[in-house]
Symmetry: C2
Subunit: 191 residues, 2 copies
């Protein structure tokens, strides 16, 4: 019950724990540029990220925590990203602690539709409030490694985001990450 | 509301946030060796640790998080340590993420009286379950820097630990940290 859990900052993994691995083919709706997505899939199915969830403690006041490692890369102009999720229990917040690498989180308030892009990188903490869809995006050249910590009652809802997508995409323009409306980006790339 | 909060891994501080600072004189009951404690206080009142609490979000599902920096040093054989606390709402757990340095956490189950010592150091996570008094101890030569993340409803109870102390002390013996009964240690140093 009482234990200390070492993790590997280089690999973003925890010895003795099996991570969930997400490859490009596991994110069929995330990337706006469908042509670039198909082209990349034709060449293989790269590993995008792994998350090791530690969910041993449950009940009032208990916490879950997950170590994420998101690899660098792009599909067209869109950086490698996670599926993104809401919490099944919508009021639940999550604290992200950036450990290595450079990236951003795309946040979208489910109620207002408002979006924001905030930095998630080494030595940075991001607070994701309730009712907020959140996706991690690697905008750098090294693995982005981070902890996400949240109440055990939060749960994950991937389906809502998977079905309707985030309204915004994050694309590289002139070497920098830019958030723009998905519909606008689709017009730009003529899809 | 949506923001990214960078922190300084070297200082253990967050720009624009005022930390709580604890000096030796703020821990009058923590160290068992009262003679060594008085001798050190006679020579000054060193800073033991600072904690920067971020408690902006409150309510169901919300989280608090605090960045701690505990400096290296000893009072007699006892390493510099925090006051230690229970949560006011006893079931509340806390996740500690070790960022820099080397140390341990002393855990004591309030219900059973059982104690444990677990490593808290760079790239290590410690889960502190509910009903567990916990104290951070720097057993290394550099500042021990860590995040503590917990539910906003947890609260801190320093009074219970301050009044009755942890049953165990952590002392350096032959260069290594050893946990022993406070009463046994007091016999050893003849106090």
């Amino acid at each position: 019950m009482w234990r200390s859990c070492p993790y590997d900052l280089k690999t973003g993994l925890i010895a003795g724990h099996v991570p969930t691995s997400r490859h490009l083919s596991d994110l069929p709706t995330a990337f706006a540029d469908a042509a670039a997505y198909r082209r990349m899939l034709d060449g293989g199915d790269p590993l995008l990220y792994q998350v090791t969830q530690v969910e041993e403690n449950n009940g009032p006041g208990q916490l879950h925590y997950g170590l994420g490692v998101l690899h660098p890369g792009k599909v067209g102009d869109e950086y490698f990203m996670t599926k993104g999720h809401l919490h099944a229990w919508r009021p639940a917040a999550e604290v992200y602690v950036g450990l290595a690498g450079r990236g951003v989180m795309l946040l979208e308030d489910e109620r207002s539709g408002e979006s924001a892009l905030v930095a998630l990188e080494q030595n940075t903490v991001v607070y994701v409030p309730g009712y907020t869809a959140h996706r991690t995006i690697n905008t750098g050249n090294e693995p982005l490694v981070y902890w996400g910590i949240l109440g055990s009652e939060a749960g994950h809802d991937y389906g809502t985001v998977g079905a309707r997508n985030f309204r915004q995409v994050v694309v590289e323009i002139d070497g920098s990450p830019v958030m723009m409306e998905r519909t606008e980006y689709l017009r730009r790339i003529d899809q």
